[in-house]
């Protein structure tokens, strides 16, 4: 998940930064120059692959292979982007189907994980349960292993129950991976909302569930947004399960579909780059929209009330 956090946070601009910069300027010119140089180098290293991807996506194929590489002055074309969505026969391309699959799988699995995880987090936060810590540890332990370790047993189980090569199968496995994360992250948010709101509401005539729905839940919305974005990014980016558990074009999600473009006798790098740009955009936009909540979500719990 750490990778997603980095991506998510660095995705948006950071408008709240000026104060530190001012402080640095006061401390000395030399230091600030050094910082700017280092940060520029870092930014170039980080952003160059992204820039190169974007450039490749709007170059014609002969410019892509040009040696020496052309940074400027190539002919701009949007053909690759058209190819992402429109197939050779003029109908929908396999990639566009894959993108739609990604939207469905990531969306539904995120909703499922949130719907299951948020009430569970609430319960773990509010109630005294037998062996609560052990239960929470067990829930977290399902995330200890990388997906590739469990993919073979899951493949065998899925084949037995007929979930192989189905969107439902992917949705279920992604939800299963996101529920523990949702529970742990949301528990922190629920802990921050005083239980007294619910107590007061119950004294005012609401049932426990109504009290949760009417008073605690609205206060949890920022936390739910942040958690859901993380879950969404995980499901959207997930590759290992997707490539092992699906095979047909009408089920496959975008990551294996894009990977599938590489490996023929010739590789259409323009199409790969364009598909990657389209694939990266939704996550960027979404992370940008909820950037405030993301930062709140990442730092929450660090400060005591």
């Amino acid at each position: 998940m750490a990778v997603s956090v980095d991506e998510a946070v660095s995705a948006g601009p950071t408008p709240d930064r000026p104060p530190p910069a001012r402080r640095v300027r006061r401390r000395g010119h030399g230091r600030s120059v050094l910082e700017v140089v280092l940060l520029t180098v870092l930014a170039v290293v980080m952003l160059f692959p992204v820039l190169w991807m974007i450039e490749t996506s709007i170059k014609e194929n002969r410019d892509v292979y040009a040696v020496p590489a052309e940074f400027f002055g190539f002919t701009v074309t949007l053909d690759h982007f058209r190819d992402v969505f429109v197939g050779a026969d003029g109908g929908r391309s396999a990639l566009s189907v894959a993108f739609l699959n990604s939207v469905v799988v990531a969306g539904v699995s995120t909703v499922l994980a949130t719907v299951l995880g948020v009430p569970a987090a609430w319960a773990y936060s509010r109630f005294t349960l037998k062996a609560k810590k052990d239960q929470l540890f067990f829930i977290l332990s399902t995330r200890f292993m990388p997906p590739v370790v469990v993919v073979v047993p899951i493949f065998l189980m899925y084949r037995q129950v007929g979930l192989i090569d189905s969107k439902l199968g992917l949705i279920l496995i992604y939800a299963a991976f996101n529920v523990p994360f949702t529970i742990w992250m949301m528990k922190g948010f629920v802990d921050e909302v005083p239980a007294e709101y619910e107590d007061a509401a119950m004294l005012d005539g609401y049932s426990r569930l109504q009290a949760f729905g009417k008073f605690t839940l609205p206060l949890l919305v920022p936390g739910i947004a942040a958690t859901a974005v993380f879950a969404l990014i995980f499901s959207w980016n997930e590759f290992v399960f997707a490539i092992f558990l699906t095979s047909s074009d009408d089920v496959r999600t975008a990551p294996p579909a894009i990977a599938g473009l590489i490996g023929g006798t010739t590789v259409d790098w323009g199409l790969v780059a364009a598909a990657s740009v389209v694939f990266a955009l939704p996550v960027l936009v979404f992370a940008y929209l909820v950037r405030r909540h993301l930062v709140a979500g990442v730092t929450l719990g660090a400060v005591r009330r």
Partner: protein, 355 residues
């Protein structure tokens, strides 16, 4: 208004923690009853059980004549004030007050009248159109009190309502709550860990420890004759001096030579400890009449009084409260004598008051 009866209350959580071992309380109609104890003593759990926010493992709770064991909180006709106020953050003061009434389904004019009345009583007029985060801590707590008032409940339950306020405001609110309770003749159960709050507010105080009631009594009873060594150490600042004593020649004699008047009916066959309040002792010039030789270990100058820590070779150092006019330097040789009446005497093994 109604009284509250709690009998043989026991609360055990699913994880095995016992919050309340055994609690019996009988709270009178119109009484301001304080439950006092350190954190984890079961006072809040007991209060929450009365409110219906926790279901007791066993035992009965009656409010008025109604057995409320199986009633949800809303049907118990009680109001509760919380440590964190629990005002609904998205509602203005006015709507926060009206909320429980609207939830009950009262007609509009009745809601308005009651909100107006509570606002007048708690002087909330100018705050009615603000939201909780625009209010100071004290104002929020007054709104929370008013929200409890509007319901005209049979009893008020207060869960450390003043803990989050600063000291000055706390004293003001204490007066306000006491005044309000008297004016309304309300039954009020008040939970606190602050002995000053308990002493100044309560008609009666229950001291709880480890899920059991150690003592129930008026503030004076609790102060003068703590029922156990725990109560003796918990009430009073500085707490009671506990002096190991033996009965000899019809007197209580401490190890350091202090002589105390024994209460009648003392058992002779077990080790005893006398509880002596710091104000029942006196630091005198060395060799004064009836005094034992002692040495000042340290002195805390509090302005209106001085607390002397005195070593009189009696095992433990004792604390003595003296007026600020009587001054001795640290390490000075002094006399120590007992000036109070009969002390409370405890059995060392059972830790309970014996006479």
């Amino acid at each position: 208004m109604a009284g509250i009866e709690v009998s043989a209350l026991h609360k055990r959580y699913p994880d095995g923690t016992v919050a309340v071992e055994h609690v019996d309380l009988s709270i009178g109609d119109g009484e301001l009853f304080v439950m006092l104890g350190p954190s984890g003593c079961g006072k809040t759990t007991t209060l929450r059980a009365i409110a219906g926010l926790e279901r007791q493992t066993s035992g009965d709770i009656r409010i008025g004549d109604t057995l409320v064991n199986d009633l949800p909180p809303a049907e118990r006709d009680i109001a509760m004030v919380f440590q964190f106020y629990a005002l609904y953050p998205h509602l203005k003061t006015r709507d926060n007050l009206a909320f429980p009434l609207r939830a009950e389904g009262l007609p509009k004019h009745e809601v308005q009248a009651r909100v107006g009345e509570a606002a007048r009583l708690m002087r909330l007029g100018p705050l009615l159109d603000r939201r909780p985060r625009q209010l100071s801590g004290g104002e929020q707590q007054r709104v929370a009190l008013a929200r409890a008032l509007v319901r005209r409940p049979r009893a008020f339950l207060m869960d450390e309502p003043l803990t989050n306020l600063d000291a000055e405001l706390r004293a003001d609110m204490r007066t306000e709550i006491k005044h309000l309770q008297g004016e309304l003749g309300a039954t009020m159960v008040y939970v606190t860990h602050d002995q000053v709050e308990a002493m100044s507010l309560g008609h009666r105080i229950a001291i709880l420890n480890k899920g059991r009631v150690e003592q129930i009594g008026t503030p004076l009873e609790v102060y003068d004759r703590p029922a156990s060594l725990f109560c003796a150490a918990f009430i009073g600042s500085p707490p009671m001096n506990l002096i190991e004593v033996e009965v000899a020649d019809g007197k209580l004699r401490g190890q350091g030579g202090l002589v105390l008047t024994p209460p009648p009916g003392l058992p002779r066959d077990r080790p005893l400890v006398a509880g002596v309040r710091p104000e029942a002792l006196e630091v005198t010039a060395p060799g004064a009449d009836r005094s034992v030789p002692a040495r000042v270990v340290s002195a805390e100058w509090l302005g209106d009084e001085i607390i002397y820590v005195v070593d009189h070779s009696g095992g433990r150092d004792v604390r003595v409260r003296m007026p600020p006019t009587v001054r001795f330097a640290a390490d000075a040789q002094v006399g120590l004598r007992h000036t109070g009446g009969t002390p409370a005497v405890y059995d060392v093994r059972t830790e309970e008051l014996v006479a």
